[in-house]
Each structure stands twice: as C-alpha cells, then as structure tokens.
Amino acid sequence: MAGIGRRGFVKGATVGATIGALAFAVGGVEIIMTAQEARARGVPFRLLDGHQGEALEALGETLVPSAREAGIAHFIDQQLSVPPTESLLQARIFNFRPPFADFYRSAIVAVDAGSNKMFGRDFVLLSTADQRAFVDLMRQNKVEGWTGRPGALVYAVLRADAVDVVYGTMEGYEALGIPYMPHIPPEKRW
C-alpha cells in the first residue's frame, strides 16, 4: 500500500467498483441507470403499484424539495426488489425486519387514512400547504386516529430516504457546493 496517493488509488480502484449502479428493468432487459433517469423514462415499478409510487413521490417532495424528480419512488422500489442483505435503504439502519416493503406499504396506508380523516382525500390529492400541514403533524405523532408504526418514525425514514436521493449523491454534494472527494467514487453518479 505504500506510496499510493488518492489519485492513484482512485484510478486503480474505480475499475473494481462494479456494483455502483442500480439495475432497472426496461422491456424485460436490465439497464443500469439512475433513479432519476428511471423516473424520467417511465420505467415501471417492480413492487409498488401506481398509487404507492405517487404517494412516495408526494411524501418525498414534501419532505425534501426535488425528491420527486430525483426518483425517490424508483429508488425505493428498486431497493425493495433486491435481497435485504444487499439493500441500501435506511430501513436497514432503522433495524427493520425484512421484507422492508411491509413498512412502506403500511406507512402509505396510514398516511392516506389520516389524510382522509383530516381532509377527506388521499395525501397525493392534497394541496401543497395541506401536505405540509399533515407531515408536520405526522412528525410530531399528532395525526388523529393514526394507526401502525408511529408517524414520527415514518417521517424519519421517508425523510432520510429523500435526503439520500437529493443530497446523498455526487450531484447533491455539487448542488450544495461541497467537494465530494471520494476515495472510490460510486460508479453511477446517482
């Protein structure tokens, strides 16, 4: 290892970082692309249904601006489809028991139930202001009649996912003006 500087190491090691990309299925063929690209190309979800995808996008966007465009729903959907031991989701850090899809599905059910009780509509149909008001109550475990995992936990996990797709990428660092300075950069700059 002696004498290996960062530049030299990165040059050699990037070649070995072959698992740095996400695989999305397009027309039966797996293509490596970013979650943002997958959303832009309308790649079908693997596990989520259309409403669940929309709900995750609406929640993500409320929590972290630009999360929708960054592909939060595609990111979560793709990660739910890989074995839990390979998952990059924050659910792993929150010590959830696989399958992680159970958490997301039940969270969306709880959000919609609370939203319908408060506003008479699913969360995705609320105005931006009402979505914000609802999330603020959810964050504080103050949504009346809430069922399932605590609202504050749902807030924390989805916020962390949204932070990942918006700020955890090399583009996210660039947008904040933070030098990324990788030893081994992710192969795909998502």
Binding site: M1, A2, G3, I4, G5, R6, F9, A13, G16, A17, I19, G20, T62, L63, V64, P65, P84, T85, E86, S87, L88, L89, Q90, R92, I93, F94, N95, F96, R97, R132, V135, D136, R139, Y155, A156, R159, A160, V163, D164, Y167, G168, T169, G172, Y173, L176, G177, I178, P179, Y180, M181, P182, H183, I184, P185, P186
Partner: protein, 522 residues
Amino acid sequence: MSNEKVDVVIVGAGASGSVYASVLAKAGKKVVLLESGPDWELSDLISSEIWGRRIKPAGAPILLEGKNPMTYAAQGGWGVGGAALHYFANFPRLLPTDFRIKSEHSRAHDWPIAYEDVAPFYDKVARDTGVSGDAKAEEKWRPAGEAYPMPPMKTFRNGDIWLKGFDAAGIRMVPAPVGMNSVEYHGRPACLYDGWCHVGCPIGALANPQITYLGNARKAGAEVRALSTVTRILTNQAGTRVTGVEYYDDKHGKQIQEANVVVLAAWSAQNPRLLLNSATDKHAKGLSNSSGLVGKFMMSHHVASTWGMFDEDTQNHMGTIAVQYMSYEHYPKTSHPGAFGSSFITAGFALKTTDLAVSRADLFGPELADYMKQAARHLAGIKTFGEEQPRMENRVELTGEKDEFGMPLGKLFHSYDEDAVALWNANLEEGLKVARAAGAREAWSARGAMPTSHLMGGTIMGTGADNSVVNSFGQSHEIPNLWIAGPSIFPTAGASNPTFTIFALSQRGAERMASQWSTLTN
C-alpha cells in the same frame, strides 16, 4: 458435514476475533474464523453513505425493547472486519478509576484487574496498528505510558473553532488519539482527510482489522470462512469442555467445526445469544451460565451532541470521522453533581450530507433546503460520551421467533437510569455554554430520543462464577477451553470509545491463551 479438527475456532472476524486469530496463528496454531457476513476487499469500500450501508448489519436482527432501545445498526458491522471495518477509530483508553468504581464509589463492579494490567497492551496495540496522538498531553489525566508512534492528525476549523469555548469553560482539550495514520506507517499511507472513514477506508490509512490483525493472521495461515453462521457451541457429554461449533455455510449447509478451543467473538448481543442457545442437559441455562448472568448487564454510552452554526467557513467537509480534540476533564465519576458517571468530551469531525440533515431532524421542505445550504459551510459539532452503569434488567434474552437457520432471535432490553439521563442533560447544557462561548451564531442540543452507542456487557468478567461469566482474560469460569472476547466482557462501560480497549484486552487474552496452551488442550 464435519471438517478437520483445528486448534482454535473463532466465532466472528471483527475487532476482537481478528486479534485472537493473529496472535494464535503466529504462535503456530491452526485457526479458523467463522464470520456470518461476507468477506470484503478494500476496493468494495465505496465513498458513499448510501453504498456504505452494504457493510452495516444485515441478517437476523436483534429485537429491541425498553425505554431507550439500543440503535446498533448504524454502528454495527456486517462481514469480515466487523464494525471495525468502518469504525471512527477514536482510541481513548479507559482510566484507572474505571477499574475500581465499586471500591471508590460503592457502585457497579470493580474489574478483576487494574489499569496497570491493561496499559502495556494499549501500548502494544498502538505500536502494532498505528495510533496518532499526543500521549504526553493525555498524561495530565492518566499514568504515563509509551508515546504514540505517530504525531497527532491535522486539525481543521470544524475542530479548532471550539477551542475558545472550551477554554472559557475551563476544559482543556488535547489532540485526540486515533487509529489512523497521520504519516505513513507500517507501509500504509497517511490519511487524506476526505471524511469517508465511516464507510470504510480503502487506502488503508484507517487501522481496520482487514489490513492489520486479519492480514497478519491470514499470512500466518489462519483461514477465514465468510457467510458462515454459527448457531451452537458444542460440548462433550460430561459438559466439561467445548468441542467445537455447529454452523451453516454459505450454501446454507449444516457444518461441524471441531476445535480444541472455541473463542466467542461475535459482539455483545450475539455472544449471549449463542451461549443461551447452546444449552444442554449439563448446562440447562446455557453455557457458562450457572450464575444466570449471561446476557445481563448490557451497557451503552449516551452521546450529548451540540451543534453550532458559525459565521465563518468551518471546513466541515474536511477531516476524519474521528474527532480532532478530546478531554478527560470531566471523566471523574462525580464531575457533574447529581449525575454520576464519567464524561468523555470530543470536538471536531467531518460531516457528510446525511449528518447535516440529521443535525436538524425537525426541518423539512423548503426550510430544510435553506438549512442545508447554510450547514454545508458553517456547521460544526461537539459530542460528549457519557457512562451508563451496569444493571441486571438491561439484558439479552432468547425469543420464540427464529431466524432462517432455526436459531431463536435475541431480544435486547435497554433503558437508561436516572443517573444516565441526568448526566446526558448536564453534558448537553455544558455543550451549549461551550458553543456560545465559541462564538456560534446559533447553538442547539440534539434532543429527542436519548442516543445509544457502543454496546457492551452481556458476558462480563469478574473474580468468579458467582459474579461473572469469564475471568479477566475472557476465559469461561466454568468451561476452561471456552473463551469470550470483545466488549461483552467489560463489567463497566467507562465513557471512552471502546475499541482500543477491545483490542488491548484481546491481545492480553490471546497472549495468555498461547502461553497456557497446554492446560487448555489436556
């Protein structure tokens, strides 16, 4: 399927198991390490917080209960190297008072050894793995020892900016000792201060076991079997000796590995789980558990985090995840009136975008976006680790639920007592005073759920089977060829980050095992 009998089988290839493997393989023993997670190459350690989650815990979870559940997943490890593959490598040592807390304060337990018994092994680990720091500066608070082999790490504004505040509070800060290279050491390069240590350091500047003890162990002939999950420790018919372990290999095939000695080094929550699951008619409560103390006295450190937003650029993208400055000033157990326990004060560390977002977990939407822009250049933090006293009710038990191999899941109960809560609050209040005196334009405490860090205990050391599970070397009081290693053998927690002590105690235990080998195999 049975494998050729070996001298030593080690369960877990993390910090403690790797030291045992190195010492024993170099002593000529045939060593096999069984690790439940995958094997990693340095080239797997991608500089990304998202990709870095691949080396965080997976597999069967430990179920969490209690008022303050032990949130271990961010710190834990998955695979060869364990948590030390991506640890922060803060290397403070325990102090003499930690070893005699009962004698001095009528609280908790005395260790069966003194600081002086461990000190030579701290020095040896520092030489072997490389530690950067200023030992002389620390010796204000501890007995003198050897100088660290490398000078202190570089500091940055995110650390230096706090010194004025600490000075105003009468707290002397000194360079923190870390298991990182400030200069080239043992053929490994110096740190580049890019702040990606917590997802693994691929250049080898961070002393992770893959490039230190495990590297040496492999060179000396030790075999590492990854994706090998141990489910039981096996004993002879009389129950007087362990004979090996049962495990499931990477293809989920059941295997038996016989050995003269078993070293259990699977982490504080898994060690008790394995001992309890290895019950026989001769050991009805689990191995080494006639006292009923296996799984008891689980401990954590609480962490008081204070954030400051400064007008100047704090360079918070620069540095390491380890801290730049530390102080034992409030380490004496009664430093904070009405809040018993040691505090270990630290300052200055690199931040990534996840850290920025977590520092104001209440913000979302446009307010979060605005905050992230400010924090990217102007945020800095300090952290004070606090001691929790050992209590029986903080424990690991087996549950009725089973993992994919049919092994009962462990459940970890953890709640802080009044002393811990009071100490955490005192440290948070002090942090705010320091931040204001340092000139922060805004300062706030990370309140909310009381943090847990560094799981310890569960198979504690002591003077006999009536008060503990193992002796000071990690040898079971009841089964002489069963040894236990890692933070699970700590009888008290202190407030210092534990890994330096884990390495030192493992070195001490492994050398003892090698020197007493003939008594273990007869």
